[in-house]
Amino acid sequence: MDVKILGWDTKGLRLPDWKINLDDNGGKKTSLIMMPSGMGKTTTLSLLRYSFCDYSKIIEKKDILALQRPKSKITKGEFNLNIKINNAKYRIKTIFDFSNKTLSYKTTDPESGQKDGLNLPEEIKKYLDQEYIEKTFFDLEVVQKLFESTSAIDSINKLYKLYYFNQIGNNLDTYLIKKQDESGSGKIDKKDLIELKHTRDKLLKKEKQLRNEYEINNKKFENLKINKSKYSKIINDIENSKKSIKDKIDQARENISLAKNDLKDSFDNFYTELKNPMLINKDFKKKLINFESNLNSLKIPESVGKAFFDDLIKSNQCLCGHAMTNKMKDKIIKNKESILSEDTWLILSVLKSKIKEDSGKEILDLSKSLSLIAKSKRNLNIEERKADEIVGGIDDKKYQDNVKKLNETNDQLNDLNKFFQKYLEAPSKQDTLEDNSINKIGNLLKITMDKINEATETGNISDKIKLIKDIFKDTENKSLNFITNDLVEKINKEIPRVMPFEKIFVKDIKDKIVLDGRDSASAGQLARIGYLFLITLLARPNFNFPFIVDSPVTGMDEISRSEIATTIATQLNNQYIGFVLPLERDYFADVLEENTKNKVNLLVAFDTFDDETKRLVKLAKQYSVDTREFVDGVVSVNNKDFFWNFTVSKG
């Protein structure tokens, strides 16, 4: 099964109404589409994703509205994709209704013509799901995630469909519940059984809700981490570019940091003082000293405790030698209620010794500590104002925006960390349904299920299901182990070629890709390993599907660019489409050309929505590009001179 993209055209979207054709002649399987920043690379990538997998039920409304042309009254837009599947041509029309915020499809195939819906041949549907599409049409962030989160192992799980084991396990659990519900109350009261089942259902609901929340929060967390590093990098770059004020900023930050430490210390100090009830108020101190001394005067606690009287009641004669009568026993029982128990005796001794320890200490001056807080707050305000004046002087909206975004991201990360902490808390005896720990809820569920199994005599079925699930788990682990070992072996085989100067091998794929003998590597090195991972992971012997990458070599050095280009040209059998910025052209496009014997489509596309693009139109005209073909955009196909001389900067 061979799938190839031939081109696409757009109408009524935030992109220009243009047509992109990828020349298929002579077996060209590689295309580079160069677009200036902000002119639709990511949007086109999303549109391509929507065309291969039915997003009509999963797309978010905001994602539909993001495709609408700003300030436009057009209510419908469309993206038409032309593809070839085993030499048969298909056209997929994706229609965006901006009024109703919906997405729909029409497919034209060689046999039945145009029909509603996304109707791709059944043979390729089994491969194409959202996960597969998002891995094959990706940007560099996906590669970065492979080394930072559970993304690598998640990808293997989803693409090899290992999660089926878990799904079957869940079905078995549902079967057990059905059996429990069908059985009579057996050993316990019917009302108690109903109560237990009610608890079970609530726990199952809670467990599901927690797992969903965890999955959503985990994704959020990974994205936030990537955003955080993006914002930090932009902030650092801007600060470093303005060296004259960098020192002032560093000094101001140092002062703020010191003032913050002071303020934190003064709050901590105040609360530490407040946490000594004996020394915060003279009445409290007097009360406690009175307590200790009065108990001493009263000889409380006494050396003889309740247990002594319990023993005395059991004996035949009193200490004085008289025979113990029932009347005497009754009297002792009554009076011993006012004698301290051993437990009270023990606690009281501790309380008294603590009071004695602090009785000689002075009362703390809380008001002084409070005024120190106020002073530290003032100092911090002054230092922050000074820093604001310096930073404000930068007059850079981008800088300010990113500082704001970074702060917001940090807050969100912090909240998520707390969620994860709670989520993983260990079970204890006091757990309730209100707990948000998956372990606690899982433990409560197990206890409840065991009780129901015993009552409904379904323990036998439960044991069998457990055995089957254990076998599944074992099979899943072994499969995962086999797949990861195979991937690691294949990746490492290619390492000497893609990293000729410094070889970095992959040790394992646990949750993320683990490097051999080092914690990390440069962005370019990681990207090269990431590409190898994805190419190896997505390779299917009977399924040749396009590989589309947004900004494939952004921020990489010359060696990394060249080696990635070589990998694409020599190792990738699939069609490759790269959306590149002009900055990514050198050491990438030329190496691709060289290694494919010039079988690369080189395209340039830009919109002409505003006046600032007039310069680009003028440049295109100089290289004989037809700038009138489309109303609001220019597309140049295989005009090599223009591709190599296209520049966005005014210089």
């Binding site: 913050k260 303020l263 934190k264 709050f267 901590d268 105040f270 609360y271 530490t272 407040l274 946490k275 000594n276 009830p277 004996m278 915060i280 108020n281 009445d283 409290f284 009360k287 406690l288 009175n290 307590f291 200790e292 009065n294 108990l295 005067s297 009263l298 409380i300 009076n335 209620e337 006012s338 004698i339 301290l340 128990s341 437990d343 009270t344 023990l346 606690i347 009281l348 501790v350 309380l351 008294k352 603590k354 009071i355 602090d358 809380l366 008001s367 409070l370 807080i373 106020a374 707050k377 702060n407 940090n410 807050d411 990360l413 912090n414 006091q430 309730t432 209100e434």
Partner: protein, 173 residues
Amino acid sequence: MQRFQYFKEKNGDQGFIGMSEVYEQIKYQKNSPTKMFSPIEDIMDIFYLSLIVGIKLNKKLDFNDPTYIKGGMTPNWTSGLKNTKDHLVALYISHIIEEKDKNYKNKPEIQKILNTKLGKDPTRSISDDGMVDIHSYAFAGYIEILKKINKKNIKDIDLFIFFSTINDIIQKN
């Protein structure tokens, strides 16, 4: 009582600000520009401060009043209050004794109070009966703190205002 309880809501009082809301507003948050200085790390800290205020003002309310909605907290004193617990329990028990026998005259009665109010578990040091008592003081103390802060909107409360209010109450004779 299995766990310490916090004062969550008051039926029929829409404007009531619960302990958890105050806690969320002033608790430590590493990356919050205003909350990063906070030493408040657990909702039990709010409970503790409310309790000393309740004892100081000798205010108590009926813990079992059904209009008071409660939420569960920790089963034991938190690690942050590890060094506070013994003084606090002693303060509470001495307060109870003085309420009944100001001059410590009646030894059997005092021993009975100690037996009833102190717990068997040395980690908590307080009985179920004593737990109800300290909650009655803490909830009443919390209401006094809110009255004194006199803010209708939770957003108007910050850590400094909260601590200043506690300090004012504690220092006042």
